[in-house]
Symmetry: C2
Subunit: 472 residues, 2 copies
């Protein structure tokens, strides 16, 4: 174990080292790819477990579509192929032969799913179709960063087809809301919900809803997106149905997804100089118990710890670190690095007093608790930590969010040097987008509000409130 | 809806039609690939749920390794590349450029996982490593058949590394036993546990344990395999550790897996002329309730059915089919096709008598049950069906298993014409394997017993008891 680089001075290097040292992931021998190690994958399992239940509660079913897509499918929707062509991985040979038509490893599955929907949907009675799949996708990545941008990443992609535009809109907005709640309540990450401006939409979509969060360094991460695809793809894939009036119609479509980059965002939101800080709702281990013993007290300490563990495991996910070849100090260091929300230390003195010593990861606060009430209070303790983490992140985001009517040349240098969110007005003119680039800024989202008066670029009357930030 | 082909006269066609008509899967637009539709995927989810718990109970953790493997990795273990080379799909271009080294879509992940293990394992303290991943793999398939053989298929692959050969053997045997219990108790499929003969082993393994089951037509399906890979791969990937004595040693390895072909085996074991028959332990819907109403009784029937559904859902997975545009007869047909173990019909006459009508899918048995005891008895009803299905399949397997000391030329024609399992002796001479081919027979497994006296091919003294069958 070595220490971590300074989180203040070299955030990028700190991030990379946390990912590797906490054994969340490792570099794979293929450029831009990672291996999700058990501790990192356990985080993804918790995310999957939570979302999968929510998806099913809202009437979605899981399915599995092929990994390989004929190249010609991508070409059916003009904007779609333009968006993805530079990133695709192409299979040209298989079974010992050159293929007649190259196959693409899915960068996303709209094309193949819509092809199948066109076969399955015949009548309004077949609608809505609401499917989701958990899988990995491949987009060739030039600037990889573990979890945040990798050539292969894991995600879920929901794809739905509806009779009316209103229903499709409701679906996309429902998923947008579901993601927003998830990010805030489970990942404890404050998030801004808005829509993407025209030039940042999903390739081929009518509208893209987005959830944007601020990382510790003031840059933005796009957390989850939901798209209204309306009828573009339905026409491209000849997906037709007979409506209630006996007329032939095209369904309205949506797609929505979130990826393993959520793990990266969690690290970059809550982490500190000691390493990971995991919100209890998602932590694979919520409480770690460290018995501290000498040869003569070992039996007594282990009995006490086993009793405690048996009580606690009804309420939370626990781990007892009984390794003999590591010192308690080395264990403290390791579980702090791995971000376990609560650590319980038990030594001979605790036993004599019938207490346990409890240390909160994010605050470092240390307290002693009577053994008799430790287990029954643990749920409330963890809930408090969950709320504290959210508040701490919210405070940081508020401090680094500047609401301004200033023009780009005035606030641009601050954006470039100090990062942060800039809440400004925009008249919708795309010229502003290029101008932003010189400060490395991007329009993260258009807000539902409209409180600004002038455009940050042209100075003309504002049409939208937007968030500008540098992004990952 | 159209009827199914005759299960007796054209089993292959029957199988294909059941898969498509019951909406388990559909053909994908890439040769040899399928789409797992929600009903088929739900079966896979049930399989995953059960096995994942068992894997974790036995100390395994999940992880995710990359889909893409450098071609050179496959070449490190000579037997391995020979086994897989003809089946691989190769990515030659990505990110708009030709790759310097081609990448292979994983046909199995030993090579990339062992490469990572070599980085992670330094000392005996790092052992054992016991990981599993749920994913899909690609092997180019010339004779595809949905679920049974597809170019892309979904599976789990466990990969473990151990300090001693004894531990690795214990691990492989533990997983072999776990699979055997799963196949028999959950899928209700009788299964023979044995080891593969030398020429049928996993490419590069020392020993392959297998579970073989007989389908309705008398052919065999290999259900799950567990491999002892010993030190071959560890040497190929330079996976070394310092043992307790300070010496450099190579770990002993295992791998084990089962695939979506289990779904195919379930269909081919339990299905009948009406379609699927699903064992309750794995059925996504265990009980379907069909309300039968006229306009004037609708309210009353729906209230009765809702009350029943609320009682039942504490005990089992239920679905209430309230569709208005389908007749009860069409619904009976559909849920029989989809193999739901129990159907409950509720009409006005049932309500008057305070009963429900219950129809068992596999036997067609129809009985009336008092509403007051329906819910509390449902677990026992489903358990009985589970046992009946196993017994029915066991009876069929017994009837089609011939234990004989006859020579190949005597029983070969029967094997070729009528299928079935032939329990015979073998002296281990590989010449027998080629001779078997003329009758389309293969050695499915070597049994733990040794009761035979002479070899089915040479007539010399037998060394092994084996099972011979045609296989999928």
């Amino acid at each position: 174990m070595t220490g971590l680089p300074s989180i203040e001075k070299d955030f990028a290097q700190w991030y990379q080292e946390v990912v590797y040292q906490a054994e969340l992931a490792d570099q794979a021998p293929v450029r831009g790819c990672i291996v999700m190690r058990p501790y990192g994958y356990a985080l993804w399992e918790e995310i999957q477990k939570y979302l999968d239940i929510k998806f099913k509660e809202t009437g979605h079913q899981n399915a599995a579509f092929p990994l390989l897509i004929p190249l010609s499918f991508l070409q059916k929707e003009a904007e779609h192929v333009e968006g993805f062509a530079p990133e695709i991985a192409v299979v040209t040979h298989a079974g010992g032969k050159k293929l007649e038509e190259p196959l693409v490893i899915r960068p996303t599955s709209e094309t193949i799913i819509h092809h199948m929907y066109a076969r399955w949907i015949r009548s309004w009675r077949d609608l809505p179709v609401k499917l989701n799949q958990w899988c990995s996708v491949v987009r060739w990545e030039m600037r990889p960063r573990p979890f945040i941008r990798t050539t292969e990443f894991w995600w879920q992609e929901g794809h739905t087809a509806h009779e009316t535009e209103a229903e499709a809109k409701q679906e996309a907005e429902q998923m947008h809301q579901l993601y927003h709640n998830f990010v805030q309540n489970i990942l404890a990450i404050p998030a801004i919900a808005g829509v993407k401006p025209e030039h940042e939409k999903f390739a081929g979509a009518d509208a893209t809803y987005t959830i944007e969060s601020m990382m510790r360094d003031g840059k933005a991460v796009q957390m989850c997106t939901s798209h209204r695809i309306s009828q573009n793809f339905a026409r491209a894939f000849d997906m037709k149905f007979q409506d209630k009036n006996g007329q032939i119609a095209y369904p309205y479509l949506t797609s929505w997804g979130c990826t393993t980059r959520l793990i990266g965002a969690m690290i970059m939101t809550h982490g500190d100089q000691k390493g990971l800080v995991l919100p209890p709702a998602i932590a694979p281990i919520q409480v770690v118990i460290i018995p501290i013993w000498k040869n003569e007290t070992k039996e007594q300490v282990f009995a006490y710890v086993n009793n405690l563990a048996n009580q606690l495991k009804q309420y939370c996910r626990i781990h007892v670190d009984t390794r003999e070849h590591e010192t308690p100090g080395a264990k403290f260091y390791e579980w702090e690095l791995k971000g376990v929300p609560l650590r319980i230390e038990v030594g001979a003195r605790d036993i004599a007093a019938n207490i346990v010593t409890m240390v909160t990861r994010h605050s470092g606060e240390k307290k002693t608790v009577d053994l008799s009430i430790c287990a029954q209070n643990i749920t409330a303790d963890l809930e408090q930590i969950q709320q504290d983490l959210f508040k701490q992140a919210q405070k940081r985001q508020d401090e680094k969010t500047i609401k301004t009517e200033a023009l780009l040349q005035e606030f641009g240098p601050e954006l470039q040097e100090k990062n942060g969110f800039f809440n400004v007005g925009w008249d919708g003119d795309p010229k502003a987008i290029d101008a932003l680039k010189q400060y490395q800024g991007t329009i993260r989202c258009v807000l539902p509000s409209n409180n600004t008066t002038r455009c940050f670029f042209s100075g003309k009357p504002s049409k939208f409130d937007i968030i500008i930030a540098k992004s990952y």
